[in-house]
Point group: C2
Chain length 315, copies 2
């Protein structure tokens, strides 16, 4: 169904840009604009809630386009019967998340639907930001030889939401990694890191991002398996459930492709924010669109996309 819908939209909306954020020419300055609806279930989970998630999601999509988030809109679809206290908590959470990142929520809308035609609360956020990157940041800027960096440990958001939803209890509680990424990106830009591409590893996880960029750039990406940071709790939960952490959604982690000579500088900035940040691989020529995983025992396997959406409604 996903592909069919994508095809439909692509056929009709020929002006839609294939990035999460569209890069726009305004009469005098370049801005990025992004939109996302949030239908996460449940509304509250360890490490966040639908409100902070929506704000972070919008900020991060702008950041990945090399933009400084400026303004956002918020639109609510409320199901009749939603407790006002719950809505209030979400609204406060949004406000706090927006304040913390310096994005202004400037316009909004609310619709109410009858009981049984929603699920408590759905939120749409749309953001615009000013492009501050001096060079375009996009998949087609990726070059053979580029270094691939990961900004922190992976798999926490998807597993936190899933555990909360299914009532699973693991030895240690897993907290979502939901967080704003614009500050880190801004530092990288200000310190002159030659960033070629940025992508937050949301739906489909790191595997989806790597495959997407490999396809879009027409290059191969070689990842060192032992380098991928995964918290023990997440690793254990994934093993029990037969899931690959590389396929699990994150909401505060991104992949950066930089010129190799700038990789150390980039890593230093990433590590100041998260000590798990690391270099995970390189871009090579070879088979266009292929992502290989160098396993710790010396073998190589192809890192595929997750088959279907393994965890629905995690954002």
């Amino acid at each position: 169904m996903g592909c069919l819908i994508d095809d439909l939209f692509r056929a009709a909306f020929t002006e839609v840009q294939p990035q999460d954020s569209a890069v726009l020419d305004l009469p005098a300055s370049r801005i990025a604009m992004t939109t996302d609806s949030f239908v996460v279930h449940p509304l509250f989970f360890p490490g966040g809630d639908i409100g902070s998630l929506a704000v972070h999601g919008t900020i991060n999509d702008l950041a990945m386009a090399g933009a400084k988030p400026l303004y956002m809109s918020v639109s609510f679809i409320l199901e009749e019967g939603l407790e006002m206290e719950m809505l209030w908590r979400v609204v406060q959470s949004m406000r706090d998340a927006a304040h913390a990142s310096g994005i202004a929520i400037v316009t909004g809308d609310t619709k109410v639907v009858e009981r049984g035609h929603g699920d408590g609360l759905y939120i749409n956020t749309t953001g615009i930001g000013e492009i501050i990157a001096r060079q375009p940041i996009a998949p087609d800027r990726v070059r053979s030889g580029d270094t691939v960096l990961l900004s922190g440990d992976i798999g926490r958001h998807g597993m936190a939401v899933m555990a909360q939803r299914e009532g699973l209890r693991f030895e240690s509680a897993i907290e979502s990694d939901s967080a704003p990424l614009a500050g880190i990106v801004r530092e990288m830009i200000e310190f002159g890191v030659k960033i070629h591409c940025l992508r937050d590893a949301t739906r489909g996880g790191v595997a989806a991002v790597l495959n997407e960029i490999a396809s879009a750039s027409g290059l191969q990406i070689a990842i060192q398996d032992g380098t991928i940071p995964v918290e023990d709790g997440v690793r254990g939960a994934c093993e029990i459930l037969g899931l690959d952490p590389l396929h699990i959604a994150n909401e505060g982690r991104f992949i950066a492709f930089t010129a190799p000579e700038d990789a150390d500088k980039a890593l230093e900035i990433l590590r100041a924010h998260n000590e798990s940040a690391t270099i995970i691989g390189t871009v090579t020529t070879g088979k266009a669109g292929r992502v290989t995983l160098q396993t710790s025992i010396g073998g190589t396997r192809i890192l595929d996309l997750p088959a279907g959406e393994i965890l629905p409604r995690i954002c």
Copy 2:
């Protein structure tokens, strides 16, 4: 519930501007940004569908801020089981409506929720536009003596959706007035009409707009009842159902407040688009926030807000 939610949001989102479009300072140019979610039921109705309605709604909110629509985002929340053919029709309708008005749909998102957690399809659209009005267009610019103009006959959208939903059959089918208004507004601006305030008469109809502007400007508005254009079919349907056309939502009609010396010029432009356009009253000092209706037999009554939302889910 509506008031409570408004209060909640106002308390938390202190940067939200009270207009449908937020007027924003970008580093180099002034833009308007607006958002709306659409939950209209049914998805298709005489004269339009959820897709064209969403595009028109966004264009019109921008136009009412004196902006030229430039870019918009589209986000879909689909209920499992939605027929793809139906989605395709909606998507085409959006594309056509956007093309017709020269607004570019530049970014989007899709989420899918389980059966029973949606109602086929909900759409969020967010738009940004360039402010082209030379003077601010806002309720606080309204002055005593201003002329109040209405851009066409009223009550069609709300009645068309209601008739479709409830299976009501009237003598003549009522078609929604859903239409883009940016072109008309642009002409008024280009011809130098001194526009003080613009507002499209959506939820709550003309009565809600007039009351809102009377309150916000601290002035009284005096309307001549006999001047309000209402199609015979709409009038008949309203009489049968005990509804006041002034309370019914429109999606292609607006109220303009202009300097009195420019009223004739404004009316000429409005009439070129819709021959029902007319002057309906004037702004006066008197009781702040009051809207009076001069009835055709010489009496005067207070025109109140509709009590509650008489037609839910009409947009």
